[in-house]
Amino acid sequence: MNVKVLFFANLRETLGVASDTVRLPPGIDTAGALRDMIAARGEPWSALVTTKNLRVAVNQQMVGPDAPVKAGDEVAFFPPVTGG
């Protein structure tokens, strides 16, 4: 019932961790719901809802907040990308 959660760039620095294993309670079945659940832990996790234009990828595919999330998935949160 777990998902692997990853954080990158300034979000990773703000949270102080690059990855976390999170238990998915019943009813938490989208990327947006997972983000809100982690943010509800309080500081510094609230950065997940205060970071401007936060992006999310489920199983290494960029998705929107309504994208489904299930046990075993890899969910990554990060700021807008700035490569190239």
């Binding site: 990060f78 990308v81 700035t82 190239g84």
Partner: protein, 159 residues
């Protein structure tokens, strides 16, 4: 259609030549090299060009990066007729003047090569999970995504 994410530098001339090596049907190779600019600094409250960048560190999302780059190349290939494409993106710490990214596309005619090469660069800027942290005299800061990059990628949207 090879993509690479690597710390090592690359040889633009060798990469361009490889796309047409042993072939007699390639008439056009369009390519792009992106480099670290020292005048790129634009931290909070600091105007563009005012802050000297001393170095830059590129972070990425291993696994997803390669998939995202491959998907961008495939999307370009679905839009334009070309033979082959090559994408190289460096990660780690880079100094001003160093190469960051290379994109090249080989096709029969130049129109397709230019369009696909620019498309890949525009999408790479908005869809590939890379993040830049600049070191300036004022300290380190993460580079904000540029609205102009979203705009550049947006213009390829089909009606």
């Amino acid at each position: 259609m090879t993509v690479s994410v690597q710390e090592a530098d690359f040889d633009s001339g060798a990469e361009i030549a490889a796309l047409s090596a042993g072939r007699e049907d390639v008439g056009a190779v369009a390519s792009f090299v992106g480099l670290v600019r020292a005048d790129k600094g634009a931290g909070a409250g600091v105007g563009a060009g005012e802050t000297a960048v001393r170095a830059m560190t590129l972070e990425h999302y291993p696994g997803m990066t390669e998939k995202a780059l491959q998907a961008i190349v495939e999307e370009a290939h679905g839009r334009w007729d070309f033979f082959d494409a090559r994408v190289i993106h460096r990660v780690g710490r880079l100094l001003p003047g160093e190469r960051i990214v290379f994109v090249a596309v080989a096709s029969s005619h130049r129109g397709e090569a230019f369009a696909a090469c620019e498309f890949i660069m525009d999408y790479l800027k908005t869809r590939a999970p890379f993040w830049k942290k600049e070191e300036t005299p004022q300290g380190g800061h993460w580079v904000d995504a540029r609205e102009s990059d979203d705009h550049a990628a947006g213009r390829w949207k089909k009606e």
